[in-house]
Symmetry: C2
């Protein structure tokens, strides 16, 4: 017991005793067994986070923001990725819950029924992020993907575009993409415009190559389109690159818009009109929510952020 106290910061122990113990521990190469401590305390210092994909700058920004907050309490991130597969997510979440984390942060996706049950019965706070779930499992920090796309459509229609197309969002595994496409259709319907120019982009993750391919498909299918919205900036850049290869002037012949405010959209020529989802802020707010929960402080169950429209040169 005295040894245990010697290794704690604020324990009542005689300085000499502590010093002796620490010295001997050092000689012996003794280190506190944190697995035993975690077990005894029924919890450890992990905050578990699931992501659809590791290779995504937006999610990386969120994790960065989350990490920045949690590191102030020496909390460790236990990261896992689902590859946009519900079964993988199920396995991952089960494994993570078994680790008894202090909180579980779940990024998007339609969850399997079993997964939803696991999350609902979890003995730790569950925070869904990057979305405003219709049927929340607990806490959530995010924004409305559909509404963000509606804003983008409103802006494009105000700028005079009438024959809008959308690339992506047809694969149910990417629920945020699906929502964006729904927002696209809803907004066009509201404006009394056609919303049938929909191009599939294939299985998530939707990257640049998919955008290039989808643009080629668009030119065949809906050559009359005057603006193409893409499920992400990466996809939009792929489309832009295909325009460049084909000598199609952007935005003169065809306008483009992306989603997510990735760095590529700021740097490419022309720069992409997009929506800033405030990825880092999502992480920071999630982190603060977790700290509030751990402190027993009052915590709002629903944090809804406002994505910001960024009008750039890829559309007029």
């Amino acid at each position: 017991m005295t040894v245990s106290r010697a290794f704690k910061r604020d324990a009542r122990i005689h300085p000499d005793t502590r010093e002796t113990i620490l010295r001997i521990a050092d000689e012996l190469g003794y280190v506190v067994d944190t697995t035993a401590a975690s077990f005894r305390l029924g919890q450890n210092d992990f905050v578990a986070v699931t992501l659809p994909s590791l290779n995504n700058a937006n999610f990386a920004d969120t994790v960065e923001g989350l990490s920045r907050v949690l590191v102030t309490r020496d909390l460790q991130l236990l990261l896992g990725h689902t590859n946009y597969q519900a079964e993988t997510e199920e396995r991952l979440i089960e494994q993570m819950l078994g680790c008894q984390p202090r909180a579980l942060v779940v990024t998007g996706g339609p969850h399997s029924e079993r997964c939803r049950r696991l999350l609902r019965n979890a003995r730790v706070p569950v925070i869904e992020i990057w979305d405003v779930p219709a049927d929340p499992l607990g806490f959530h920090v995010g924004f409305s993907n559909a509404q963000a796309l509606e804003r983008l459509v409103d802006h494009a229609v105000a700028a005079g575009y009438r024959r809008l197309a959308f690339i992506g969002g047809e694969d149910e595994r990417d629920s945020r993409g699906v929502e964006r496409r729904q927002g696209f259709r809803r907004a066009l319907a509201r404006h009394g415009l056609e919303s049938h120019r929909l191009i599939p982009a294939g299985a998530p993750p939707i990257a640049m190559a998919e955008g290039a391919r989808a643009l080629a498909l668009l030119l065949e299918t809906w050559p009359d389109a005057d603006l193409v919205m893409c499920v992400s900036d990466l996809c939009a850049f792929g489309a832009l690159s295909e325009c460049q290869r084909r000598g199609i002037a952007v935005p003169e012949h065809l306008a483009l818009a992306g989603f997510g405010n990735y760095e590529i959209g700021r740097l490419c020529v022309p720069a992409l009109t997009t929506v800033d989802t405030q990825a880092r802020l999502i992480g920071e707010r999630t982190g603060r929510l977790i700290l509030d929960l751990l402190d027993g402080a009052p915590a709002v169950a629903s944090v809804v952020l406002e994505p910001r429209l960024l009008a750039r040169a890829s559309s007029r």
Copy 2:
């Protein structure tokens, strides 16, 4: 005890009993408490990984490859990032070792003295990746960044380029960048060419914006350069975008080369000459090494991969 058996694969238990238990557990949302199991068994299922940055497609590929191998044994990744800061790395590695992982994978960076001591005294295998360390701490899986750059220079010189410049690699916190710059200088010296056209890119992580800024600086400082090599494809794309904004034809007026075979380099116009570092393979080989170590199988201490040169349209 029977419940415990029900959750184990090769336990002697009646199929009906197991089924009943699993069903009820599922209803209850019960999951095995792995902190207790880890404690009881004296070890857990973590493999800890440090990365300089989370927001990097190359590192993400490596983690993806590693994960794909480790998941076959239900090993979990404990991921942490250092933000290219030696002090952050020290804190991170200390915390990770406290978790008693089965192995510790360390990505790059110059380590602090204390950090090196921690790693050397670690009671679990330490694997350095993404480099061929001069003074290995244990195992390593990587490639020679310097040699990869030398190959790239050889190719450029063979193509007729004589006034080569290099962007990045001046900040010691990015040891791989430093190595690449050294390789650049060494190869030029070998060819009897000048190697003084060096442009700083600032603090890591070097992203696209830094590349754009550095290209502007290059045009002021070394306007005679005929080819610019960049510390990464991201940086090179930034430089390319700056060329596009300034109406500089690539590769006719100025040729470009990147590093890392990022997706952007394949899609942009013109596509980037680059080096494929086989990021995913690094992860897979690291995973297999770890499995060998856990199995007590003979494991090679040093895995050196061969980066592949990819000649594309951004240089002739």
